[in-house]
Symmetry: C2
Subunit: 350 residues, 2 copies
């Protein structure tokens, strides 16, 4: 027997007890009395092993507590079947997106390797980490790197951007149709009878300019170009509160559309403290349909992004480009959906 390689002593001292070493395929092979190659075949589910052998190998594996080694496997096969996902742990939206990527990846036979951006780990650092683990594709949620850097990365690995496009290279992009969301909000309010609808702007934040543009175009389309009013703000409570205070200085609109939920909540608070009743005196719409929007006592009408759809698209896009190397990259903007809750109603005079 030439290939006895790492066979351990089976002399009188070696009883039935568990070995102190992690069992390998060689151990199973030895235990069953076949070659390692055959064990490998069985574990990969390839054909080329008899039913009887399969059974005995699985049996031995269970008995020895064997677990395949992803490192060795990836190294040798040059195929990790792993997708890296770069996202920001502090953003609930991105976390939820990641959650939805799992079933999609699993179904296509890929693993997810999470690369969390945190205050101590920038995107560049995380990309490097992911690439060292040989992930075959990279999904970057909320890319923050400059376009050139990302183009260089796209050169090394299949890339998908989620949220916004910062590159012109061969990269798939999936994002929310931000403009459509604010349009839906405008249309909902117009249908309720509102005309004086103000937008609380998101400033330089991701998606904010499209949300503003969607508002402006929808207002124009409904003959309300003269009613367009944009109050500069941002994505935080405090931004929304400040915008609310500005609004209180003049005659109130009958409805506001905030660039996101946080700002809407800050604004809501200022309004309620000032004695403005919502939705009787003022209708308020948020954006993101975050957990805050669903809270009793807030119950905010809000625009929900299609998170499962985006997750699904991102995974499928990268896997497709892995399987069909010459497939052209796609770009897509998924439609959001307005979730109507308690902060919107017909205006007073209607």
């Amino acid at each position: 027997m030439v290939e006895q390689d790492r066979a351990r002593g089976t002399g009188p001292g070696a009883r039935e007890r568990r070995p102190d070493r992690k069992p390998t395929m060689a151990d199973i092979a030895q235990h069953v009395g076949v070659s390692r190659a055959l064990v490998s075949i069985v574990f990969r589910g390839k054909e080329g092993a008899s039913e009887e052998t399969r059974r005995r190998i699985f049996e031995a594996a269970a008995e020895l507590g064997y677990r395949p080694d992803s490192l060795a496997r990836g190294l040798r096969s040059n195929r990790t079947r792993t997708l890296g996902v770069l996202f920001d742990l502090r953003r609930p939206f991105e976390v939820e997106l990641v959650e939805h990527m799992y079933p999609a990846a699993e179904q296509l036979g890929y693993h997810l390797l999470l690369g969390a951006v945190t205050p101590t780990r920038g995107q560049e650092h995380v990309v490097d980490e992911l690439l060292r683990y040989r992930c075959e594709g990279l999904i970057v949620v909320g890319p923050d790197l400059d376009g050139h850097r990302l183009d260089a990365i796209a050169d090394e690995v299949r890339l998908v951007e989620v949220g916004r496009a910062v590159t012109r290279g061969p990269v798939d992009v999936v994002r929310n149709d931000d403009a459509l969301g604010t349009r839906q909000a405008v249309e909902h309010l117009v249908a309720l009878g509102h005309r004086r609808i103000t937008h609380i702007d998101g400033g330089p934040n991701p998606g904010a300019s499209d949300r503003r543009a969607g508002y402006q175009r929808a207002m124009t389309d409904h003959g309300l170009a003269g009613e367009i009013r944009v109050v500069p703000a941002g994505y935080t409570d405090e931004d929304g509160a400040a915008a609310g205070r500005r609004l209180l200085d003049g005659p109130l609109p009958t409805a506001v559309i905030a660039a996101n939920d946080q700002a809407a909540i800050g604004l809501l608070d200022v309004m309620l403290r000032a004695g403005v009743r919502v939705p009787q005196d003022l209708s308020v719409v948020g954006y993101d349909d975050s957990r805050f929007a669903k809270l009793p006592g807030i119950d905010l009408t809000s625009v929900r992004q299609d998170i499962p759809g985006m997750a699904d698209f991102a995974i499928k896009a990268v896997v497709e480009r892995l399987d069909l190397p010459e497939r052209e990259p796609k770009q897509i903007a998924l439609p959001p959906q307005l979730v109507v809750r308690g902060t919107t109603a017909a205006p007073h005079g209607a």
Copy 2:
């Protein structure tokens, strides 16, 4: 030159363009004209290479776009310096905990491998995945597996449990001192002059029984055993709202301590709708100091767990046990801190 191994053709056809293959140490070695071993030494920062050689190797690495291969490294050295972290992506508390683990791990020279539990991936599945990547230690946040299973895992890898202890094996455990948190809440309220303090119970949820016990003991210690009142509820908005409605059936206490923020918020909503003013008529304390508690318009007094402290302890514990194999496992309960906000004040009669 015996060791020219995978040297690629450098003939007339091979211009300066980037190779289509990922560069390896062999490429750098060849480029510089040294052995692979030397390149390895340099990349690991070990001494035994001249300054000049170091410089030239780093230069070549940068030029070729080299990136060390974590798979090969881990496989060969049998040392991945990787810690697996099992946590639930849906629980903001756990996500925040993970975020704080990064700096601690990085400082000790370890990487984190995230194992996210989601509705489609149970704890067992995630543990298996993590172990296949050869992580050397495993941090299980909110263990849900039964004790025997976890004991078996502790047999394969250094284990730390965060949140609760489900095993008796050689395992470190770090958790919040849940009872101390409710005690702090009781003492805060008593200092404000409250006596009729009711606890909104967390039911069978993690930490809930300790929170209840802390409340009961603190009440007793302040001579308020006769005022102890526990309303069964849970950890959701709806649980809190239901408890609030029950409370409204009888004479109101002057203060309530909810088992968590969600329940507190559900209760708050019911109270405000019923015309009960907070904090004038009723003081409310939550638990977790979640993002909800900080929202303007909620501004909830709440008990904050020491998340950075727990993260730090978990990482240090597992690394210590990796470095000092015979170190005894530790168990610790970290003290939380009461964060006083707008929902607590002196009772009416005070």
